[in-house]
Structures are given as C-alpha cells and as structure tokens.
Amino acid sequence: MEITTSKEQGKVPVTVLHVKGNIDSTSYEQFQRRAEQAIKSGAKNLVIDLRDVPYMSSAGLRALNAIYNQLREGEDPNMVTKGVSAGTYKSPHLKLLAPSKRVMETLKMSGFDMFLDIQSNLQEAVASF
C-alpha cells in the first residue's frame, strides 16, 4: 500500500490522504497510523482519496471508525446525537472520495455511508468542508 498526503485550501485547510492499494487486515494499521500522524500534525479536516483502493474489508472500516473518532474533538455531542437521530448527521471533518463499487458495498453494508459524506470529485470534496 502507498499513501501520499497533500494539502488543499478550501474555506478551511484540508488534508487529503491518497491511498493506493487494498485496505485489509494486513494494511489497515499503516493506513490508520498515517491518518493519525496527519491529525497529530494539526489536520482537522481529512479527505480519504479512495480512487485507487480496489478493495476494503472490515479492517479498513475499523480504521475509518478510529480516524472518525479522533476527528470528533470539539464537536458538540448534543448536536451529533440530534443529527444522528434525525438521520441528517455526517462527519464535518472526515469525507471519502470516490470509493469503487466494491468499496461502496462494504460502506453500505456496515452503515458507514450514513455518517460519512461521500464525494466524487476532489475539488468539490475540498470545497464541502
């Protein structure tokens, strides 16, 4: 797996993690660590570029879950609870870019698509924060 990072400027600064390769039980820790390093370095808004990720297992979802939790700092928990109950909540800090059909299957099956905004275009993803 190869991961590169780029920084984009929209209304706010956005860090993009470009992932290349499958995210499974052998690679998810590397993916998670890289995202955690970006967060520790000050990234508050992350796009995970999935254009070159052909496959993701539940291990990849565990990593996304951990990244999502780390980016929640500062959010009003009451607003999150209300949004979740209303079915309108999506993470304002973590977004996914262009998952493949197969990766989308795992996101849907696990219900992660309810909490994560999925964008199809990098510029629009950056502008959406």
Partner: protein, 144 residues
C-alpha cells in the same frame, strides 16, 4: 455426488500476508465456476473475513495453515475453510449495532456480520482432526 459441478482446493501457509493470495484464489475459482461479479465479490469478502479471523484469532498472528475448498452445487456456491489453533466461538462475538453512531460502536464484529450478510448460511464447527471448520453457502444470483 449428484449436483456437484466442480471443486477447487488449496492450502495456504503463513499469516495475514496470505489474505491477498486467498482472495486471488477465490476470484479465479469463482470465475472458473461461472459466477457473476456480485457472487464473486460476496465470496471474496466473506472468505477474506473468515481467513483474517483464522490467522488473527485462532493462530494469534503466528504462522498457521488454512485449507480452503470451494465448490458449486446446482444453484449455490460453497466455501469451506479448515484451520488449527484455538477454537473460535462465534457466540462470543457481539453483533454490531449498525444504527449506532460510529463513536459508540465496538471495534470488532463487522467481519462476522459481513460473512452472515453475504452468505445464506454460515456454520462453525470444531473437529478434533481438522480443527476449526467454517462452511459458508451462498445461493447464486441472489442479486445483493
């Protein structure tokens, strides 16, 4: 042996690095057996989750041996995975609450959930000779 069209069997030795060769074996075999993309993906993901479970939980990330057998019966595809190590009790894995917010979710349980969602039938047995035996069945052309 009526109804059995074809079968393939392979042994994988090692640890989690075997997941990719296992997925490739499943993709190749499902292709040879004439399955559509949806059924092939279901088998690939379910087998990957089962094998990750074997290497991680039963072999505790130490090298081990996983035997996989795949065959087709009239309207269904079956995959059987046999491996040693500690016995796996699926009853001890809590079912994930998919409606819970992500921050309230458990880290585990999704792999087993995927296996059960993608397959019509998932059975775990512990045999004194074979060790853990996981058998999964999927009706072909389910469309989901």
């Amino acid at each position: 042996m009526s109804g059995i069209v074809s079968r393939a069997r392979r042994i994988f030795e090692g640890s989690l690095e075997q997941l990719e060769p296992i997925r490739n074996f499943i993709i190749q075999t499902t292709n040879d057996l004439g399955c559509d993309d949806r059924d092939a993906f279901a088998l690939e993901l379910a087998a990957d989750e089962a094998a990750a479970n074997a290497f991680h939980h039963s072999y505790q990330d130490k090298p081990g041996r996983v035997e996989i057998e795949l065959w087709r019966e009239e309207d269904a595809l079956l995959v059987q995975m046999s491996y040693g190590g500690t016995s796996f009790d699926p009853a001890r894995v809590r079912e994930p609450d998919l409606n819970a917010p992500l921050e309230q979710r458990d880290a585990g349980g999704l792999g087993l959930y995927f296996m059960r969602q993608l397959m019509d039938h998932v059975e775990f047995k512990f045999d004194k000779v074979k060790g853990n035996v996981v058998t999964m069945r999927r009706t072909l052309g389910r469309g989901d």
